[in-house]
């Protein structure tokens, strides 16, 4: 199968117009020595029905959450994606447009991004959001880069309760960005504010997560205050789905709010593509990475939208840009906007409440000790399963239930801990089944 549109006659006429005798000749500038000179060693072309059959066969070898009752979370969640999200994303105009460099051709997507920015600012209590970052990890690196330039400092403080992958990505970026990272350990599942305060001396920023990786609620206002007092920018890594019930980072003094958008509007999709969001206080606007859409007017005074503040960006500013990002995650961010508009403020609050209630119910029903019994949680919590958690996971999966993420890989002391996540798609009966299975396998 191919997607070419030229007929044999077309090709001939076109070669003639170009003035060459063959397609081969079009490549005459390529030195002989670097030509391939053989066919690519790839499997033969498949027809469309064969493509579908082959990919269906591959897909069937994955235990997805429609086939297995799953309590996996740890950053990616099986929240319900409304049908309108799929419908909007299937519109070919959105699907097949490029970044809206030519605003008169792209008012729709520009307005959608402007709306997305507004929604993110509303959720987080911030003044400016970009059009999206790659995911919830890279926006953390971005935020640190912003903080470095804003404060002139190069140390970044990462809470140990921050998603391990987020920390890893920041550390990978750090050398190039000229950053050093330090980590603040947790105490009973939440960040020790005093330790954080002292780590923040000379730091550009402190990045914490709310709810944190263990699902626990951090003393976020205290963390923000402690960082701020030390002159470090407080950066909150937040779950958008929680922001109907949890306070907005902007309301307790954060300079930046970032996060993984997946839970709001994106499928799990084995980890991507999703969108990361990054929003900031207005004083940081000219340090923001990536695309930002702004309002303006046209020749006739009518309202319109354009990419703006482009002097921050690589295509104008090149090596002096605030970031190298160009392709971002617009379509996924659009999904986020549609999902959030579908929920509205009331729906978002209900969603948070339902998750909390279900999690609390699960804590009660599961007859295993909590790892952090003191902490309040949102939709996720860790339990001790008595022995190696990976074995427990395997045993539970044999009974048709995936109980959650085995924390041992990231937290060596927690080899016997499973991080259990619920979403509104899990019913109390599902939780009962989890409890029963855990009762069997962790007994």
């Amino acid at each position: 199968m191919s997607f070419l549109s030229l007929t044999p006659d077309d090709r001939e006429a076109m070669l003639e117009a170009v003035g060459v005798g063959s397609v081969e000749e079009l490549f005459r500038d390529i030195p002989e020595a670097v030509r391939l000179g053989r066919e690519l060693a790839l499997d033969p072309s498949l027809s469309e029905p064969e493509i579908v059959a082959h990919l269906t066969e591959l897909a069937a070898r994955n235990a997805d959450t429609t086939r297995e009752l799953s309590f996996l979370g740890a950053g990616i969640y099986d929240h319900y994606v409304p049908a309108v999200v799929d419908a909007v994303l299937a519109r070919g105009e959105f699907l097949t447009a490029y970044t809206p460099y030519q605003p008169e051709m792209s008012q729709g997507v520009l307005q959608a991004i402007f709306e997305y920015q507004t929604a993110i600012c509303e959720l987080t209590g911030m003044d400016v959001s970009n059009a999206s970052g790659y995911d919830g990890t890279t926006v953390a690196a971005d935020a640190c880069f912003v903080a470095k330039h804003a404060t002139g400092r190069s140390k970044v403080v990462l809470c140990e309760t921050l998603n391990p992958q987020v920390r890893q990505v920041v550390k990978t970026y750090a050398p190039g960005f000229g950053l050093e990272t330090v980590e603040v350990p947790h105490r009973d599942g939440v960040t020790d504010v005093d330790e954080l305060r002292s780590a923040c001396a000379d730091a550009a920023c402190a990045v914490f997560q709310q709810p944190n990786f263990f699902g626990c609620l951090e003393p976020a206002p205290d963390i923000a205050a402690a960082a701020g007092e030390a002159g470090a920018l407080p950066v909150a890594h937040v779950d958008p789905v929680s922001l109907g019930v949890l306070e907005a980072p902007g309301a307790y003094g954060c300079a930046l709010a970032i996060g993984e958008g997946q839970g709001a509007g994106n499928y799990q999709s084995y980890g991507g593509p999703h969108y990361g969001f990054i929003a900031a206080r207005s004083d940081l606007i000219r340090r923001m990475p990536g695309r930002i859409v702004g309002e303006t007017t046209d020749l006739a005074g009518e309202r319109g939208y354009v990419l703006t503040l482009q002097t921050r960006e690589q295509h104008i500013r090149r090596e002096k840009a605030t970031s190298n990002i160009t392709t971002n995650q617009t379509l996924l961010a659009l999904a986020g906007l549609v999902h959030l508009s579908w929920l509205g403020p009331q729906g978002l609050r209900e969603l948070g409440e339902t998750c909390m209630s279900l999690a609390e119910y699960a804590k009660e029903r599961i007859d295993l000790p909590l790892v952090f019994p003191e902490a309040a949680t949102f939709k996720e919590f860790a339990v001790r399963v008595g022995r190696n958690a990976q074995e427990i996971v395997r045993a539970a999966r044999e009974r048709g239930v995936h109980p959650g993420y085995a924390l041992g890989r990231d937290y060596p002391g927690l080899d016997d801990a499973v991080l259990v996540a619920v979403t509104e798609k899990r019913t109390p009966a599902d939780v009962d089944r989890l409890a029963a299975v855990l009762g069997e396998v962790a007994a």
């Binding site: 030519q102 729709g108 990978t172 593509p273 303006t296 959030l340």
Partner: protein, 499 residues
């Protein structure tokens, strides 16, 4: 048209959620949200109409010809959208046990094998989220490689071409390297003399697009590679233009050591109005130990994730990369098979044909056959009639076409960078050429109509200067400013648009 927030009315809603009969749990007082976010309150009927109307105001490849140079705006097959939404892919959690994700792991492994073959190199990481993240990753790999050899302190410089895309210098800066630029010679190749003068023991490597952003294949690529390799440096291939050479010439065979592939260009992941993308990096064997973790590996008949890579640079993104993008690109490549070569051939044929139809009316700065795209200059129109590349671009809109990339590459004044892609029929190329020729005539006969363009879009030319000065970047609800009261400040910017 109204913003979705302007359609909002208190008490309306679209979404509904299950409500279980469970006790409500209170958030601790000090963490509880006080003011609800002002998300839109709309019904589903309005939601659908709103986003339908926004889609209608968006031009995509599905709408028409989109010859945005360097962006490879090819057709996005619908079967790819079908397979990516199979529940086995779409609803798979990234932390699922490997045993429960064999299909996904196999797909990634197969895609890695394919990319290695297409690039003529040895090892692949699919993790980077886009081309520019691929660049950054590639530069981190360079650094790790030299650090491993004890040359990290010595090799501080990365060289780019003066035709380079803006992401190249930005990536160099973000990875902590010093930037040095090489000039282009009068055939559009890297200037070898300039290059020799700039490469030394401090050089870590070269970043190059080949064919270049001029749409020209560097005729001295073997010498270029030798210069770097002789100096102990590496070559990085910006894969944005890979669509020109699949199955024809492989970056590895050209001498490149690290490549990023733009899955959203060459392999048809839809651009989505700005993303998602995929920027896998493909490397020569000595660089493999440094690739991000986890690696997707095959053990006999099973596939697994390998985290045990002590020399790895770490992670550049969550999990194993944008999996949905891999599904689409894998399906795309399997559709063509070895026929990828024909894909590139037709891309190059289409570009040369269009060039042949335009070269007598717009200036061609480098008189060669082009590869999959070409760059013209509107300099003459500007000089003679005051019509800029920007004006030509805006006027093309009235003819129903998306404009090409303009003002890039920077070395061509009034640049019009045109990439038709292989999926366009000849009729479309003919119609576009006719429009370009007609605009050139209008520039002489009726310049005001060109300068005032577009005339048939939902908005007229937009004031980008005002937008930047006022920086209204979110809806202000009751305090939203009325920008129509601010006087115009300059309209559209004559700066790079596209690529």
């Amino acid at each position: 048209m109204k913003l979705v927030f302007e359609r909002s009315r208190p008490g309306r809603r679209a979404g509904s959620l299950p409500r279980y009969d469970l006790p409500k749990v209170d958030v601790p007082e000090e963490l509880r949200r006080r003011t609800p976010p002002r998300l839109p309150e709309v019904s589903e009927p309005e939601l659908v109409r709103h986003f339908t109307a926004l889609a209608d105001r968006t031009f995509g490849v599905d709408t028409g010809f989109y010859p945005l140079g360097s962006c490879t705006m090819k057709h996005n097959p619908r079967v790819n959208e079908r397979v990516v939404s199979l529940p086995g892919f779409r609803d798979l959690h990234p932390l699922q046990d490997e045993e429960g994700a064999q299909g996904a792991l196999e797909l990634m492994w197969r895609l890695q094998e394919i990319l290695a073959e297409v690039c003529g190199l040895d090892a692949v990481s699919l993790q980077p989220a886009a081309g520019s993240q691929g660049e950054l990753t590639g530069l981190m790999l360079m650094r790790a490689y030299f650090a491993d050899r004890g040359e990290a302190e010595q090799r501080r410089v990365v060289i780019t071409a003066d035709t380079a895309h803006g992401t190249n210098p930005a990536s160099v800066a973000m990875s902590g390297y010093e930037l040095r630029k090489v000039e282009t010679d009068d055939r559009g190749n890297l200037d070898l003399d300039d290059l020799r003068a700039k490469v030394d023991e401090r050089t870590a490597g070269l970043m190059l697009t080949n064919p270049s952003t001029l749409g020209l294949f560097d005729e001295h690529i073997e010498e270029v590679a030798a210069i770097f390799h002789d100096a102990g440096a590496l070559l990085y291939y910006d894969g944005a233009n890979l669509n020109a050479v699949c199955g024809i010439s492989r970056p590895g065979d050209m001498g490149f050591d690290i490549v990023h592939v733009n899955l959203h260009k060459t392999f048809s992941q839809p651009h989505g109005g700005g993303g998602p993308g995929g920027g896998p990096v493909v490397v020569r064997e000595p660089l493999e130990p440094f690739l991000p973790v986890p690696a997707v590996v095959r053990d006999r008949d099973a596939f697994r994730l390998d985290y045990d890579r002590p020399k790895s640079i770490g992670k550049v993104r969550g999990f194993t990369g944008p999996f949905g993008v891999f599904v689409r690109s894998y399906a795309y490549i399997r559709s063509y098979g070895p026929g990828l070569r024909e894909m590139s051939e037709v891309a190059v044929l289409n570009a040369n044909y269009l060039l042949a139809k335009l070269r007598d009316v717009y200036e061609l700065p480098f008189d060669r056959l082009c590869m999959h795209e070409f760059v013209l200059s509107a300099r003459k129109l500007k000089r003679e009639h005051g019509i800029t590349a920007l004006d030509v671009a805006k006027r093309l809109m009235d003819y129903g076409f998306h404009p090409p990339t303009i003002y890039f590459p920077l070395i061509v004044p009034e640049a019009l960078m045109i990439e038709p892609t292989e999926t366009e029929p000849k009729e479309t190329l003919d119609a576009f050429a006719a429009a370009m020729r007609s605009i050139a005539k209008e520039a002489a006969s009726d310049p005001e109509v060109v300068k005032g363009a577009p005339h048939h879009r939902p908005v007229r030319r937009l004031d980008e200067v005002k937008a930047a000065k006022r920086a209204v970047v979110k809806y202000g609800f009751d305090e939203h400013p009325d920008l129509s009261r601010t006087p115009s400040e300059g309209e559209a910017l004559e700066a790079q648009k596209g690529a």
